[in-house]
């Protein structure tokens, strides 16, 4: 359950039951598919070509082409260099079920807030999550939804969909309002 709760996600779960070879493929390459999906987004957003990525990553265009096609597992070194070529760095963790990726539409806002606060985005997000998760008022507010309420500050951090269409749009935040960016991630 969670944000993946839905008929499309249910279908892909059915596929894994139906097709054990696909299930094995997904188990093996799921993390790589996420990496490549994020890579494609960053590459297309920056209007980069394969050749430009290759140049920045000090590798060949054919190596980038093979990597994008997911035909073979890439080397660790290539992942490091490709991440750097896109202006960031590689992140790996064995805690896959405990790690979250910031949605694309919040990237710029998160960067802006972090810069304003003199923090890295990673530190900012960890602060937000810690503040939200450790506060009182932890409420499970419906199927696929966790809402961490902070009544004293009128802020909340929400995961998943609101419990009803009428529910107020959650605000992602949790810091004392030291400046006007305290809940800016809500957009």
């Amino acid at each position: 359950m969670g944000r993946n709760d839905g008929e499309v996600s249910a279908f892909f779960n059915e596929l894994k039951v139906e097709d054990s070879r696909y299930a094995a493929y997904e188990e093996r390459f799921g993390a790589l598919a996420e990496f490549v999906t994020d890579y494609e987004f960053a590459k297309e957003s920056q209007k980069l070509t394969q050749a430009e990525v290759a140049q920045r990553a000090a590798t060949t265009q054919s190596a980038i082409s093979r990597f994008e096609a997911m035909k073979h597992p890439p080397t660790y070194d290539l992942l490091v260099r490709v991440s750097k070529a896109l202006g960031d760095h590689l992140f790996l963790s064995p805690f896959g079920s405990l790690s979250v990726s910031l949605p694309y539409d919040l990237h710029d806002k998160a960067r802006q807030i972090a810069e304003k606060r003199g923090q890295t985005v990673k530190d900012l997000m960890q602060d937000y999550l810690r503040q939200g998760i450790t506060r009182d008022g932890f409420v499970v507010c419906g199927k696929g939804s966790i809402n961490v309420s902070m009544p004293n500050e009128n802020l909340s951090l929400s995961m998943g969909q609101p419990s009803s269409p009428e529910a107020p749009r959650p605000v992602c935040g949790g810091f004392p309002p030291s400046d006007d960016s305290s809940n800016a991630l809500a957009g």
Binding site: V36, E44, K71
Partner: protein
């Protein structure tokens, strides 16, 4: 975003559905199947789609019909999933049709447009028809 399939009760030919495409047509392309799943997962996380329109992974096709390109470029062709916005909820996408396409111009837009019209027609007269969309 919430993603839903084109309602099966509106389609006589279940074999032509997006689900059937992913199940059958992509059976020999596990990498593409996984890329589609991952892309849809990322899409569900978004509230503002502009970043994906900027990256041209989402694009308008014609008169309310849109397409997803997964991946954006691929030598053997890319998966194009045609969708429209839900009539009751602008944060819902209705997945109408899909194909593995080599050429630049989308091919199955005729079917997708027809399904979109059928879907819109089917929503008329429902209790929440005419309400302001969220």
């Amino acid at each position: 975003m919430k993603l839903i399939w084109y309602p099966s009760y509106l389609e006589n030919d279940e074999k032509a559905s997006v689900k059937a495409f992913i199940r059958k047509d992509l059976a020999k392309y596990p990498d593409l199947r996984l890329r589609v799943k991952t892309f849809l997962d990322r899409l569900k996380d978004l509230q503002d789609l502009q970043p994906l329109f900027n990256s041209e992974q989402l694009a308008p096709v014609h008169d309310g019909l849109f397409e997803m390109r997964i991946p954006p470029r691929r030598r053997g062709g890319v998966v194009r999933i045609y969708y429209c916005v839900g009539q009751d909820d602008s944060k819902t996408f209705v997945l109408l049709d899909a194909e593995l396409k080599h050429e630049t111009d989308p091919g199955r837009t005729g079917t997708a447009l027809k399904r979109m019209a059928t879907y819109i027609e089917s929503t008329k007269g429902r209790p929440n028809d005419g309400k302001k969309r969220r």
